[in-house]
Symmetry: C2
């Protein structure tokens, strides 16, 4: 009996590396005790939300107990939250963004699928630098889109803009970037962004169906060493911005994100209305109202980045001492080092033998590397993982 569609059955067979590691982790923790397992596989921010959330929740108990306090809200979001977002994004992006071009979504993931549904025709192509967040392929695949990853330049992982331009065809609909980048930790420089935007403007000359530059920025706030993420909206009218509050407010599970359609785009309102419609008819209906209210109240807050900074430095020390080559991440909570010997699956296995969990680069469309997340690993645990890394390198070498 066939209870599942063919395409989903295929996807289940190729289940994600992150998930495999997650299950392996549970197993190891049972066997050796959680304190003896070094789990660098998960990207789930473990820093508490800003302290103010406690007071906000208590205050909201009054709001939500009223009639319609938790009722449906407009599909695009609570009007007051959209206004708050408009101010927040106008300041961040250095262009005036009206609330009417913003759609509140069920996280950045809900933003991206609603946007894809609104713009993609079956067979449309999407170009993104590799390595890339694996779910992108599924997100566009639901609606007939095809992802064409273009290798970025190791070891710094800036995108190869010339190669991306060569890959553009009549069917290209979206250039998808994610900076600060999961899995590399790379932040694109102002110069890179300028060149990318110029390329997008050039390829869109005389094109009836424009190629959008979609910038997925859930890690925007999390940069180090004074690096800043250049605002994308002023660079080209074809730029569309996605984001969420999962990382800066540590509320990933409550699912609050947004799409901001570039007000400079011709037909910006038409496209915004299309995303409001797809956000509704894909079944999201509206972003969770409690989450919207929390994000609205905490919009000027963020979690303590100092914790992430200290973890990054600790892991850099551990990797250096083990003789593993890497580019120091300028953002996010990921390292994407080269593996000794070049075989990422083999090295991940070697690490596993010392209770260190990592995700192979193959899981991000980029062999020969691993992703290490320090989103849930305490500084002291990172230091204790040092011998595991050293032994794995020795074993391979």
């Amino acid at each position: 009996m066939k209870v599942v569609s063919d395409s989903i059955q295929r996807q289940m067979a190729g289940s994600s590396w992150i998930r495999k590691m997650f299950e392996k982790g549970i197993e190891l923790k049972k066997q050796f005790g959680a304190e003896n397992v070094y789990d660098f596989s998960l990207g789930n921010p473990d820093i508490a939300p800003p302290a103010k959330i406690r007071e906000v929740m208590c205050r909201l108990s009054e709001t939500v107990s009223q009639p319609l306090g938790l009722g449906y809200c407009p599909n695009a979001g609570l009007p007051a939250f959209r206004e708050t977002l408009a101010k927040y994004l106008s300041k961040q992006q250095q262009v005036e963004v009206p609330a009417s071009n913003i759609v509140c979504t069920v996280g950045a993931a809900g933003a991206i699928t609603s946007f894809f549904r609104a713009v993609l025709e079956p067979g449309d192509e999407l170009i993104c630098p590799a390595p890339y967040f694996v779910e992108y392929g599924s997100y566009c695949g639901h609606f007939g889109g095809v992802l064409k990853p273009i290798p970025a330049k190791p070891l710094e992982f800036q995108p190869d803009i010339d190669a991306m331009e060569r890959a553009i065809t009549e069917k290209t609909r979206v250039i998808l970037i994610n900076a600060p980048n999961n899995p590399t930790g790379c932040v694109y420089s102002q110069e890179t962004m300028n060149r990318l935007a110029e390329m997008v403007e050039r390829v869109n000359e005389n094109r009836e169906r424009p190629v959008f530059l979609l910038s997925d920025e859930p890690y925007r706030f999390l940069t180090y060493d004074g690096v800043e993420v250049p605002p994308v909206l002023p660079l080209t009218k074809f730029a569309i911005l996605l984001g969420s509050f999962s990382k800066n407010l540590s509320l990933a599970g409550e699912r609050v994100g947004f799409v901001c359609i570039n007000p400079a785009l011709p037909d910006a309102q038409l496209l915004t209305n299309a995303v409001i419609l797809t956000n509704r008819t894909l079944g999201f209906v509206n972003a969770p109202v409690i989450g919207q209210r929390i994000a609205m109240e905490l919009i000027d807050e963020e979690v303590d980045k100092g914790v992430y900074t200290r973890r990054r430095d600790a892991l850099a020390t551990v990797l250096t001492e083990a003789g593993i080559r890497f580019a120091m991440p300028k953002g996010t909570f990921y390292f994407f080092p080269e593996v000794p010997g070049g075989d990422d699956l083999k090295f991940v296995d070697a690490l596993l033998q010392h209770n260190v969990l990592a995700v192979p680069g193959s899981g991000f469309g980029f062999k020969g590397h691993i992703r290490l997340s320090f989103s849930t690993v305490d500084e002291s645990v990172i230091m204790r993982s040092a011998s595991g890394f050293r032994k794995a390198v020795e074993q391979i070498g």
Copy 2:
């Protein structure tokens, strides 16, 4: 410049009747004052959530302010909430439902799109009784599904099971029912459900790709006159149950629902895993965690149904006095009366002239009727709407 895909552009052109009435309502309220407009167009429960929600929110302020308090949860939902749902549904459905066959979703709408994505091949057909909730067409259309509505029997609106069976082809994948029904207020009897289940069992003999009986039950708790909704899971192994807490706990905007895969289905776990995957890759990721925790704490509560009962009786009196024919709704907060003269668009216009807002049956694939929702209209307002109904009938007649 074409910024929106063709299919979405078409959907935008045919924007929903409910939305049109919503906008008309805003206009009328501005012009005449909210107290002089009788808005029967919206289905947004205006009864306060159970009082206990206040205490629960305060208690949760502690939970959510901890590290990972609002972090990602498993894609299928918080394990404790799934266990709670398993108990709740086992009791309700009178069969043992394990937590492992339940997926927590972003409302019932998120449940339905995740399920459709998991089972539909492009070109698959879905059969449902008309009138029907218009969004069903979009929900399956995203994944190439085609809705084939089969007229129910007026005036009681029990489904025409023989006609539904005749409409089944090799491409049929789902029979979709919604009871208590939006827009008719009809509840399917035990006898109807038995016959429907027998039909489903019969058509599935020797069929490689089974036809599912998908029961969408967000209004299950809201019945009148001692009527109960027969449990669907025991009737056939092909039955799948969807629901939400939008109506019984008045938390529509927080988006908490579920899919329950029938444990009796061969490959039930495979199908459940497929829905967990599509729930993730459609961008829902997980149902909002605060909503999950609230629903878990309030699982034994419900809003005060007495308010709805009194409103129903008031509206029945108003319609009867105006000489409008209707079947008394046995559930939900909708009436679906016949319109005098037979032209629903014309009658809706006549009502509008007296500041009464209704949705034409055409918006639910069933002409000659209107939908009246009393979800947000107070008893006293219903009584005051009587002259509007009377005058509109006189005008038409």
